[in-house]
């Protein structure tokens, strides 16, 4: 997930134009000069990531957040490899907030964009290798032997057949400078990288002992729930809280920025009291729009001459070389993330200090939000990061942390603020809806000569910035933030193309003449990156059209794609892996295959879906997926992420639809926002095409190809081309 919802490119463009110097200057020293890790008695912490205790325990501080994607296991594996300590002997803790833990490419301390393994693969190994080298030097001095005579095994230094604990040499190591550029292990020497290993968090997560934000209880804690405007951005016109105030266990009812908060002695009492509030809301413009209006607005924008255009080659020339051409329009709806754990936060403020407990994709922003709304400096705020019960982009938006802090300040109480599932679906953030139009021409050889793409819809980048700025710049006045945000909104309306709305739409294939037009139409529904971001809808348009073009060209789906992938060997590699893999499949009568291929987050994926039609229902039986994500750290986690990406994408392909009615979200819980269940889940075969490239994304790239693969299979089964999601048979 694009952690901060903003592509790197989009972000640099945005900040560059609104005063990068100011932002960078401000964030350089939010922590003062204190180190990230203060080691315990007799322990050493040679850097921000590793502590070696006097009991020879290695503690690894994971700079990235664990939402289920297995990153704490993956990063611990890198440390284990170069330190020569078994992975399961390493204690993993979630890092505090500190400059040393900022994402090496993004601006904030956050997690997303399927980037964590890619950006940490070498730096984290280097830190661990340097730490091991330091210990070897210290051991050589203490033992009076040459460093070259020493080796390591499983957390011990071996000298003349005797094993010494790493921790035996802490005292001497403390006197030495940490080396740099220690040579890293060669691939042939890997003990842990590239091997299937049980996830370190599997035991806690199978016994109910893993602690999520929802599970936190601290002394004197009260529960808060908030009634928010059904239409995003609405404000309280009139509040009658007399009935709620009279209810058992209710201690406070306070107004906060997002609505009215009820504080009570238990979750259940707070929930009942919120239902008893009587609020009249002032409605924003969004209240004038329903789904049909939004779609009509997109359609008329599409037919206008508005938009920002980027061109390579010439569409006119490309079409002149085409023997056939086709133009299609696609609709993809708003979607909700619905992580299993609704967002929540515990905030405690006392004696000029504040403490936050929450699982987020952005603990740095979270800390800043507590600072902004408590008035405390970030140095006085402790963030306890916890397991997140799913992220998918939703936990990069942290309004619940601002809410919890505002309630804690207003009531002078320690507050646990919980969103219900209804809040999650009706008051949250959503994947953008889009109309996409593709116009393509092919020549007699089955080569695409022109690819002209337009996307109409809302922009992600301004909402991303709106989520990040107040927390990342906690002391900047709201007015200044608002100015920066409105400047950004204007930039994306006619100047810049928000990559989160178009990524993947004109990519992957050779396309000698291509054009991308973007038209921003924003109605005010809050938008957030949703697992695989723009790819979650662009792949659907691109890959279903490629299938249609293949048929027009009289070529099979593999051969047509192959002819247009001459400059993309890694995507061609996974496509051919699926082509070969399919030959092993027995396809039962009445079952049909559709394929697709799509690159995202620097990884390359091809899929085949086996589908049958039962009445009006689309049933997906099996999926074959090949991925090239470069070097593989833990194949089992790669497989798990691909399986999960496919299931998440199938929910969207078959059911996902957030509908707006007079500005409010119509769906409210899992009875009307349907999620794929086990009886609808296909078997998944994953082929990992390992290459010598650096590792790239796995959390998101498995998702984009599944909807078009299923749609293409539906065409094989029924002769119906589907141009809208969710996929619905006529």
């Amino acid at each position: 997930m694009s952690a901060i919802k903003l592509s790197r490119r989009g972000f640099l463009k945005a900040t560059g134009l609104i005063g990068g110097g100011l932002l960078i200057g401000y964030v350089a020293t939010p922590d003062g000069n204190s180190p990230a890790v203060i080691p315990g008695d007799g322990a050493m912490a040679p850097n921000a990531f590793i502590q070696l205790t006097q009991d020879n325990q290695i503690i690894f501080y994971s700079p990235r957040d664990e939402m289920g994607q297995g990153i704490s296991m993956g990063l611990a594996t890198l440390v284990a490899e170069e330190l020569d300590v078994p992975v399961d002997k390493i204690q993993v803790e979630f890092a505090s907030v500190h400059d040393d833990y900022r994402h090496p490419e993004y601006w904030v301390q956050g997690t997303g964009g399927s980037s964590s393994m890619r950006v940490h693969y070498l730096p984290l190994r280097q830190v661990a290798a340097d730490t091991r080298a330091l210990l070897l030097t210290a051991a050589a001095m203490d033992l009076g032997v040459a460093a070259e005579s020493l080796s390591t095994e499983d957390g011990y230094i071996l000298s003349n057949g005797t094993g010494h604990r790493y921790s035996d040499f802490i005292a001497t190591a403390q006197t030495l400078e940490l080396p740099s550029e220690t040579p890293l292990k060669a691939k042939a020497d890997f003990k842990y990288i590239g091997k299937d290993m049980t996830r370190i968090d599997a035991l806690a997560k199978s016994t109910g002992t893993a602690i999520f934000g929802m599970d936190i209880a601290v002394p004197d804690m009260y529960y808060a729930m908030v009634s928010r405007s059904p239409v995003a951005g609405g404000t309280v016109n009139n509040l009658d809280d007399s009935a709620a105030r009279a209810m058992s266990g209710v201690t406070d009812i306070v107004r906060i920025d997002s609505g009215v908060a009820v504080v009570a002695t238990s979750f259940w009492k707070a929930k009942k009291a919120v239902a008893a509030l009587n609020i009249i809301w002032d409605q924003p413009d969004l209240a004038n729009f329903s789904n049909g209006d939004i779609r009509a607005d997109y359609q008329s924008a599409l037919e206008s001459d508005r938009g920002t255009t980027e061109t390579e080659g010439s569409i006119t020339e490309g079409l002149s070389k085409a023997s056939m051409q086709v133009r299609r329009d696609y609709w993809t709806p708003y979607l909700a993330h619905t992580p299993m754990e609704p967002v929540n936060a515990v905030v405690k403020i006392s004696d000029g200090k504040a403490e936050l407990w929450a699982g987020t994709q952005s603990p740095g922003v979270a800390r800043g939000l507590v600072a902004r709304h408590s008035g405390l400096s970030v140095d006085n705020i402790t963030v306890n990061s916890l397991f997140s019960g799913g992220g998918f982009g939703r936990r990069a938006q942290l309004s619940h942390i601002a809410e919890a802090t505002q309630v804690a300040v207003a009531t002078n109480k320690t507050i646990k603020l919980v969103w219900t599932r209804e809040n999650d679906l009706q008051n949250g953030w959503f994947r953008q809806a889009s109309i996409m139009q593709l116009h393509a021409g092919i020549d007699a050889e089955g080569k695409v000569t022109a690819w002209d793409a337009t996307r109409v819809g809302g922009d992600l980048a301004p909402d991303t910035l709106a989520g990040v700025l107040p927390g990342e710049l906690p002391r900047t006045p709201k007015l200044l933030n608002d100015l920066m945000l409105s400047a950004t909104e204007n930039l994306y309306d006619g100047w810049l193309i928000d990559s989160g709305g178009v990524e993947g739409l004109v990519s992957d294939y050779d396309f000698p003449n291509k054009q991308l037009r973007h038209i921003s139409v924003n109605h005010g529904l809050p938008l957030a990156a949703w697992r695989s971001v723009g790819h979650s809808f662009t792949a659907f348009a691109k890959e279903t059209l490629m299938d249609e073009l293949a048929e027009m060209a009289g070529l099979n789906s593999f051969e047509f794609r192959r002819r247009n992938l001459q400059n993309n060997p890694r995507l061609l590699g996974v496509l051919e892996a699926v082509e070969q893999g399919l030959k092993q499949w027995d396809i039962p009568a009445g079952h049909h295959i559709g394929i697709s291929t799509h690159g995202s987050f620097q990884s390359f994926v091809a899929q085949a879906a086996e589908v049958s039609i039962q009445g009006s229902k689309i049933r997906v039986h099996r999926v074959l997926c090949a991925i090239d994500c470069g070097a593989v750290i833990n194949p089992d986690i790669v497989r798990a992420q691909i399986e999960g990406g496919i299931m998440y994408g199938l929910t969207a392909a078959l059911y996902g639809d957030i509908e707006i009615e007079n500005g409010a979200v119509k769906q409210s819980n899992f009875h009307d926002y349907k999620i794929l269940r086990i009886n609808e889940a296909p078997a998944v075969d994953v082929l990992i095409v390992e290459t010598e490239q650096a590792p790239s994304g796995v959390g998101e790239p498995g998702l984009p190809p599944i909807a078009p693969a299923v749609a293409n299979a539906v065409y094989q089964a029924t002769g119906q081309r589907l141009y809208s999601m969710p996929l619905t048979l006529a």
């Binding site: 049980t198 599997a202 997560k205 238990s266 992220g391 219900t420 269940r677």
Partner: protein, 172 residues
């Protein structure tokens, strides 16, 4: 005052009678393995055993379990003494975010108590009440079938305070 058996111990609570069992277990008795996911019994994250069979507890008022036996994930097995399903969950790398897994395992344990050797359709029918947003379904299926095939599901009876039926053909 309402009294019931929670993981083998008699407990009493004066929580308001309409309070769902989930919140009594989580907030009053501080057992947080059972999760809140939807609040309308549509996701299964709150699944516990009531007198041995799986039930969603986020809408079950505490009065409904007066005098009954309630087992949560904490009562099914512990990190030092895993239930065979928990062992399978770990070995097969089932959990991703992990939030739904307590409910998944409780539903699976109830299934295997009732039907120690389910076929795929029976498994799906029993497990379709539990949503997993991370999409661990293929592994959940595989883990349950591996326990069923090993004939270990008899242990469900041992770990559950009140076993409704003795699984057939299983040596405990």
């Amino acid at each position: 005052m309402i009294e019931f058996i929670l993981n083998g111990k008699v407990v009493q609570t004066d929580d308001e009678p309409d309070t769902p069992l989930l919140w009594v277990v989580r907030d009053t008795f501080k057992l947080t393995g059972s999760k809140f996911g939807c609040g309308i019994a549509k996701c299964g994250a709150c699944t516990m055993h009531i007198d041995g069979s799986a039930q969603q507890t986020c809408v079950l008022p505490i009065t409904a379990v007066a005098g009954k036996t309630v087992t949560t994930i904490e009562g099914l097995g512990t990190p030092d003494n895993l239930h065979p399903l928990q062992q399978a969950w770990v070995e097969q790398g089932v959990p991703q975010c992990g939030y739904c897994q307590s409910g998944q395992i409780m539903s699976a344990a109830s299934l295997l108590t009732d039907n120690p050797n389910p076929n795929e359709a029976q498994l799906e029918a029993a497990m379709e009440r539990n949503i997993c947003r991370c999409g661990c379904y293929p592994r959940i299926k595989q883990a349950i079938l591996s326990v069923a095939e090993q004939g270990q599901s008899g242990a469900v009876q041992l770990a559950t305070p009140v076993a409704a039926k003795a699984p057939e053909g299983i040596q405990s």
